[in-house]
């Protein structure tokens, strides 16, 4: 990092260069009063600039006292391995989908789910918002959900239906849960599941940017959120944003913020995306919307599509899992395994 890259006011950068401070080392060596005089600014402003410069210089490694203090926030690969092995997953409701996802939707990762209209993206989003709340004693995370709805697709009566389906499956696989303490029984009601979904209705891309910026504060105030679902990330940026270059830059900023949030708060971020057509190799093909630069923003990408008469999920991108596809179905209870699945049916929970 050089002086031109410092996160300080533009005019100050220009004045620094004009005054002859051409390197971080030179700037770091200056005293606040001298810098204030050279730049014709207040001493406290000079102190701020020097604070930033000294920090940047240390990051550069020029005068670093020791490795561990210079590289703040670093984690060695072995510790990361332990961290990854203990990560939690959110059940999708379909064992086959869980299998290709390596256990389910991963916390600390951003997962994109896209598909054609009517294939079940919102159904899966709602299912995840319910499944994240499955109590720990029944194999779930016992967390809460933030559902950011940009399309108005969230139908609360359907959410209730899916919650009922989830509860009936818990009762089916854990027949003795009636013996549990009253507190445990209280959770197994659809109203409890709906009470722990925080719903934001977004009506413009500005509001979408605002809610993503606000999430950090929101998550600090509302504990135990384990999933943030944006349904869809596409709609307003596709409808209302005309400056494509600026759109790309804004979306990049948003995706970085979402990645940070998922790691800082140990939650999963799920972004639902629409499809568009792309002219490739002499013919039109379906592809997820928002373009190629956006596709770098997600850790995992799951594409939902029709294969004959069945719904399928295709794991298109993941750093640690092979490309694979799996059937699933949308039933009255929600997302489940396809009834004629060749896989042996395992416990949904």
């Amino acid at each position: 990092m050089e002086i031109a890259d410092l996160p300080i006011a533009t005019s100050h950068r220009a004045n620094l260069l004009a005054a002859g401070y051409s390197s971080l080392a030179a700037l770091s060596a200056a005293s606040p009063p001298r810098l204030a005089r050279d730049l014709s600014i207040e001493v406290h402003e000079a102190e701020e600039i020097l604070k930033v410069a000294v920090g940047a210089n240390k990051s550069k490694g020029a005068d670093g006292p020791s490795t561990s203090s210079v590289l703040k926030g670093v984690q060695n690969a072995w510790d990361m391995l332990s961290d990854e092995q203990s990560r939690r997953h959110i059940n999708t409701g379909s064992a086959d989908l869980n299998n290709i996802l390596g256990g389910g939707i991963h916390c600390k990762e951003v997962t994109e789910i896209g598909g054609v209209p009517g294939v079940g993206k919102t159904q899966l989003g709602i299912q995840l918002a319910i499944n994240v709340q499955i109590p720990v004693e029944y194999g779930g995370l016992g967390g809460k959900a933030v559902y950011i709805d940009t399309e108005g697709s969230f139908m609360v009566e359907r959410v209730y239906q899916i919650a009922e389906g989830c509860i009936s499956d818990i009762l089916e696989y854990f027949p003795h849960c009636h013996d549990k303490a009253p507190a445990g029984q209280e959770k197994l009601k659809p109203e409890s599941f709906l009470a722990d979904i925080y719903y934001f209705r977004i009506c413009s891309y500005t509001e979408q940017i605002a809610v993503i910026n606000y999430l950090e504060k929101f998550l600090g105030e509302h504990k135990d959120v384990r999933i943030v679902i944006i349904d869809s990330v596409t709609f307003h940026f596709r409808q209302d944003f005309d400056d494509m270059a600026l759109r790309t830059r804004v979306l990049s900023g948003l995706s970085l913020k979402l990645m940070k949030l998922s790691k800082a708060y140990n939650l999963a971020v799920v972004l639902l995306n629409q499809v568009t057509t792309k002219f490739t190799e002499g013919s039109f093909q379906l592809t997820l919307a928002l373009g190629d630069s956006w596709s770098h923003s997600c850790t995992n990408r799951l594409i939902l599509y029709w294969n004959g008469n069945e719904r399928y999920g295709f794991l298109d991108k993941s750093p640690s899992l092979p490309v694979a596809s799996a059937p699933y179905a949308v039933t009255v209870k929600g997302v489940r395994d396809a009834v004629n699945s060749n896989s042996k049916r395992v416990r949904v929970m």
Binding site: P7, I8, A9, S11, V116, P117, G118, T122, E151, G152, S153, F154, M155, V156, E157, R158, V159, Q161, L194, A195, I197, Y198, Y199, F200, R201, I202, C203, S204, Y205, T206, E207, I209, A210, I212, N213, Y214, K217, F218, H236, R238, Q239, D240, D242, L246, V250, Q274, T276, T280, S283, F284, L286, T287, Y305, W306, N307, G308, N309, F314, V323, V330
Partner: protein, 363 residues
């Protein structure tokens, strides 16, 4: 929220001052820039830019509700669905056309879409004891297909006990407001005025018949690259009207020829075996006009199609219902289902629209 003025946000004074000095007056102005560009515009350090973004975002973000609160409001309000009086279809849609959502009706010319819309318009004006919404209807007729005479006929045949009472036909018909925009710009101007109109006049149903007609005329005027632009704004706005007013919004769409028999595929999908269409030589395959982007935006899609000697209403997209089709016919009382038992629709047929060519028009 996007247009909320920075000066009304009660920001810390130094932030308010610096934003005003740089002429960033709305939340949209502040939030539409990446962080680095905002720093450049403000001529300030990263902490100031981040503080500005955080404060403006918190205020511009709409408040959250829990899903439980939504459910309680939903139950208190009643679901606001408009029953179609087609029993099988109403069961599939859990009571009828939902409020607060866009419902699309798509099919070839002459198959019955407008008949369906006329009956919906009539039903919405009926008292609640007859299954109506007891309100007014705003009917935007872009193809000059609205027919008062036909609507009265449908009413008299469907509800003779109501319509033969003195003056009731006039009362019901008087509740339907017909608007005939001749261009997309005229339509968008109407939409802008519509929010106030809907509240003032107790409008309970909005029908646009058809959306595609507006686009057709617009395409001729615009360069190809811009053809999606005018529709996008209208689309967002229709959705916000539906939700703001909590009324059903029904939009009709036209069809176009499917350019590729296989439709579009992802790059990873294997080439499907070519299925001979000889057995269905008299059918042509169509897809909804207005494209994929539009299809993402509608919550429910009802497809009107014809094949095997019958006409069908197919629920092609709905969050509440698997794909199902009902055979129907058109009579003097409007559309009648021939069977209330739905026929399951194989998945590849969900998005296609089948039409037996001239036979439909001849019926």
């Amino acid at each position: 929220m996007a247009n909320k003025l920075v000066s009304e946000m009660r920001l810390p004074p130094h932030l308010a001052h610096i934003l005003a000095a740089r002429r960033l007056t709305t939340a949209k102005d502040v939030l539409s820039l990446p962080e680095v560009e905002l720093m450049g515009v403000l001529d300030a350090g990263i902490h100031t830019a981040r503080a500005a973004v955080a404060h403006v975002s918190e205020i511009a973000c709409p408040p959250y509700q829990t899903a439980l609160a939504l459910l309680e409001a939903f139950r208190a309000r009643g679901d606001g669905r408009l029953a179609t009086t087609l029993r099988g279809l109403d069961e599939a849609l859990h009571g009828g056309i939902p409020a607060g959502k866009l419902t699309e009706v798509v099919g070839p010319s002459g198959i019955g879409k407008t008949q369906f819309c006329l009956k919906l318009a009539l039903l919405a004006t009926l008292p609640e004891c007859y299954g109506g919404l007891n309100g007014r209807v705003l009917y935007i007729d872009t193809e000059s297909k609205f027919s008062s005479r036909r609507m009265i006929e449908i009413g008299e045949k469907s509800f003779p006990q109501i319509f033969r009472q003195e003056g009731l036909a006039q009362k019901m018909a008087g509740r339907i407001l017909v608007l005939r925009p001749t261009s997309l710009s005229e339509f968008t101007k109407s939409l802008e005025q519509m929010k106030v109109t809907l509240l003032q006049h107790d409008v309970k149903l909005l029908v646009v018949d058809s959306m595609a007609a507006l686009m057709s005329s617009e395409i001729e005027k615009s360069a190809t690259g811009l053809r999606q632009h005018p529709l996008r704004w209208a689309l967002s706005f229709l959705k916000s009207i539906a939700e703001f007013s909590q009324i059903p919004v029904v939009v009709t769409n036209q069809v176009r020829s499917q350019s590729n028999d296989d439709g579009y595929r992802y790059s990873f999908e294997v080439e499907k075996k070519y299925d001979s269409n000889n057995a269905e030589g008299f059918e042509s395959h169509l897809v909804a006009a207005l494209g994929i982007q539009w299809a993402h935006a509608v919550t429910i899609r009802l497809v009107f199609e014809a094949h095997s000697g019958h006409r069908y209403i197919k629920v092609a997209k709905s969050p509440m219902t698997p794909a199902v089709a009902f055979p129907f016919t058109v009579e003097s009382s409007g559309i009648i289902l021939l069977s209330d038992e739905g026929i399951d629709v194989p998945s590849p047929e969900i998005t296609s629209i089948r039409c037996q060519g001239e036979n439909v028009l001849a019926q």
